[in-house]
Symmetry: none
Subunit: 120 residues, 2 copies
DNA sequence: TTGACGCATGCCAATATAGGCATATGATGT
DNA sequence: ACATCATATGCCTATATTGGCATGCGTCAA
């Protein structure tokens, strides 16, 4: 089987560099497709496709403005990601020496009584 | 052309749910492949492959321990992600009232000139 | 050396992209 | 209705994956 659909969640949506660039640009406010395409050096169809993915996972919203369609950021979907990654903060803040020490502790504990700990 | 290699960066590595689960499990300490595979309900080869990706982007490290190979978390690679996503924090923390107000505006406009906008 | 055990790899199949291009759809103005 | 500008889509190709299975490789014990 193939990879889970990109369209399925924000994690996948932001795995693509150009989509991240789009989101970054949109922090500056709403922009029409052509603008984004030009600024990011991609073709208009490409931009539209990426925007579609972003729209499907809810990271951007659209608004018709005359002939144009203005895309705007809706960052709420990024929050879960920030929280998930944040769950690892203490692991990258700890110096590696301490980390190794921590690892040793766990091994000890496991030998005394095998845990299964938290998943997710 | 196809999507950028998963193996290229942490963003892609954590786009895969099972790899996220592996990382989460590893917060509890080093574990051998078979352990992880069992706990996550996947085959051993599957686990090994995911671990390889995680190793290639530097999110886990390995250590030989007799017949086993213990995988341990190296969360440093998650920090850039946390920071990138954190750059959007102010956009999702803006009061919901303001956001809702904005949404109302959009609806108004739409009624004045019927669009079809977002689906999904 | 021979087995057994724990893992890593290779190979194949099915599928989801991303890119490039042409073209359909929509909205506007004349 | 028609021409035009702004986008969205469809189609095709090449490639990256993930899953399943069989198998190779390294380590340890007899």
């Amino acid at each position: 089987m193939a990879r889970a659909a990109t369209t399925s969640d924000a994690f996948n949506a932001i795995a693509e560099p150009q989509r991240r660039e789009i989101l970054t640009l949109l922090r500056g406010g709403e922009r029409p497709v052509t603008d984004l395409a030009r600024d990011l050096g991609m073709t208009q169809p490409q931009a539209s496709k990426h925007l579609r993915v972003l729209r499907e996972v809810g990271l951007v919203r659209v608004r018709g403005a005359g002939k144009q369609r203005l895309y705007g950021l809706d960052a709420r979907g990024l929050r879960p990601i920030h929280e998930w990654v944040g769950g690892f903060e203490r692991f990258w803040s700890e110096s590696f020496d301490r980390l190794d020490a921590y690892v040793q502790e766990l091994k000890q504990e496991r030998q005394e009584g095998p845990h299964d700990d938290d998943d997710q």
